[in-house]
């Protein structure tokens, strides 16, 4: 290999590397932007304190449904005080119902049953209902909830 060929091959190597590198970098940038586009941004969640009821509103063993935005919750008066539980079943995300006459929450999708305090009694749910922080101030029941983010709805 003479000097000229060496130079040529070096030049070729540099040009191919630059070309290949540029192509790879562009593909990487495109992929990165594409993935960012596909997966919507999870905005920073802020906790908010919300009024959900009055202390004398429910007797022990009673529950009422509370809707905050598109989120469904239950305010329950248990022996241990007030609790706010998510109305979404921990099995596959169906909405549970309060069955006061049976003192339980019931999921119609796979017949999961939860106690008034949100513990799994029977059926396939793998864990208790999500519980939210509750605060009692004077005669009022407040809860702390994170604002949800999602699509345009």
């Amino acid at each position: 290999m003479d000097n000229n060929d060496k130079k040529k091959s070096r030049r070729e190597f540099i040009s191919k590397s630059l070309f290949g590198g540029g192509l790879l970098a562009s593909a990487g940038v495109l992929l990165h932007h594409g993935i960012k586009f596909i997966f919507p941004e999870e905005k920073e969640k802020r906790s908010r304190k919300l009024l959900v009821g009055r202390v004398d509103e429910l007797k022990i063993g009673e529950a009422k449904e509370v809707n905050i935005g598109d989120r469904s919750l239950f305010l329950v008066h248990t022996n241990d005080g007030y609790k706010v539980l998510s109305a979404i079943c921990t099995h596959l995300g169906c909405k549970i119902k309060w069955e006061g006459h049976r003192d339980r929450f019931y999921c119609p999708c796979h017949q999961g049953i939860f106690s008034p305090s949100g513990d799994v009694v029977s059926g396939p749910p793998p864990e208790p209902l999500e519980e939210f922080k509750v605060e009692i101030d004077k005669n009022l029941v407040y809860m702390w909830i994170e604002e949800t983010t999602g699509g345009i709805v």
């Binding site: 099995h91 995300g93 119609p108 999708c109 793998p126 699509g151």
Partner: protein, 349 residues
């Protein structure tokens, strides 16, 4: 005159007419094993015919369907009740999807029990399984578009199941839902998957599947490879396929007229209705998840899909170890029995 027209086209599309004619001729003369004269061995073409029907009716439905949570249900009602022949086109599409699941399932059962997947056709079985899975995905995304109670809660439950898949579950959930919750993003994504990505993927899979069948030739019955006679694809098998196509159209039309698809109740994210159930072909999975712990049930389904996909290789290995035992009979019968058992169980529970 026709000669001039032909010449004009040949100048602009320079193909070798002779070799093209030979290739077409070869396709028509493809030797078909004589057992294919029995109807139950000729189910392979039915999914393709149904796919073409789904393609045509699906494109027609997009003329009126609106993929938005506020308007989706109303647009389906409009198609079913006000658009001329709307109920018919929607009915063909709905029943076509049901028949497609049945047709692919029956074809797979036939191939499985006759060991049509044996060497060297293992990869075509894998493609066949993918075709079945993509078809089920199309069915799932399809009935989610109606945006009735079944649609909404099926989308919720179905995507929640994905979350349990190890490593990629959460990513898949967020990809499909377009966030962490079922929102408008979910509907538009399902729509996209249903009308573009999945049909395109299925078209490619079907094309590869058919090309592979052609390259290998239709498999002969096991043990009769040397003695079984063949006959050319055209005319007998070709007409056979046409008759199957006509029969399917008659069945679809009858089902549509006798049992037109209903609308159900509009989706209400605030209420999960009692007795919510998916379409019948998901009953087995639904029942399984009711009876088993969630994660275990999902893992079991994943293992089953992996074993089913790579069964030809597993079967080959077992055959070398225990040549006299027909394990595929046991495995196939057990799967068919369990599938039927769970489906019937869920039907009556």
């Amino acid at each position: 005159m026709s000669g001039k027209v032909k010449e004009w086209f040949l100048q602009r599309i320079p193909i070798n007419t002779e070799s093209t004619a030979n290739a077409v001729n070869e396709v028509f003369k493809e030797p078909i094993p004589s057992h294919m004269k029995y109807w139950y061995y000729a189910l392979g073409a039915t999914p393709l015919i149904l796919f073409l029907i789904q393609l045509v009716t699906g494109v027609l439905l997009t003329f009126y369907y609106i993929p938005s949570p506020e308007k989706a249900f109303e647009s389906v009602r409009y198609i079913s009740e006000e658009v001329r022949m709307g109920f018919y086109i929607r009915g063909l599409h709905r029943w076509g999807s049901n028949l497609m699941v049945i047709a692919i399932f029956l074809h797979m059962v036939r191939v499985f029990f006759t060991r049509g997947y044996r060497k060297p056709r293992e990869l075509n079985w894998v493609i066949g399984v993918l075709i079945f899975l993509v078809t089920l995905t199309l069915c799932f995304t399809g009935y989610s578009l109606v945006y009735n109670q079944l649609s909404y809660w099926a989308a919720t439950v179905g995507t929640n199941m994905l979350k349990e898949i190890p490593l990629i579950g959460t990513l898949m959930l967020e990809f499909l839902r377009g966030g962490t919750e079922v929102t408008a993003n979910t509907l538009t994504r399902f729509y996209n998957l249903h009308i573009i990505f999945m049909p395109l993927f299925l078209l490619i899979l079907l094309a590869v599947h058919i090309v592979m069948v052609r390259l290998h030739g239709v498999s002969k019955l096991e043990g009769k490879e040397n003695e079984e006679k063949t006959y050319p694809f055209f005319p007998e098998h070709f007409y056979h396929t046409l008759i199957v196509g006509l029969f399917i159209l008659v069945v679809l039309s009858s089902l549509t007229v006798i049992l037109p698809p209903g609308l159900g109740e509009q989706a209400n994210p605030a209420v999960t209705p009692n007795h919510i159930k998916p379409e019948w072909y998901f009953y087995g999975i639904y029942a399984l998840l009711n009876l088993l712990p969630l994660r275990f049930g999902i893992y079991l389904i994943i293992v089953f899909i992996i074993v089913g996909t790579f069964w030809p290789f597993i079967d080959e290995y077992i055959k070398i170890k225990w040549p006299k035992i027909k394990v595929h009979y046991f495995f196939g019968s057990l799967c068919a029995f369990l599938f039927l058992l769970f489906t019937v169980y869920e039907m009556f529970v």
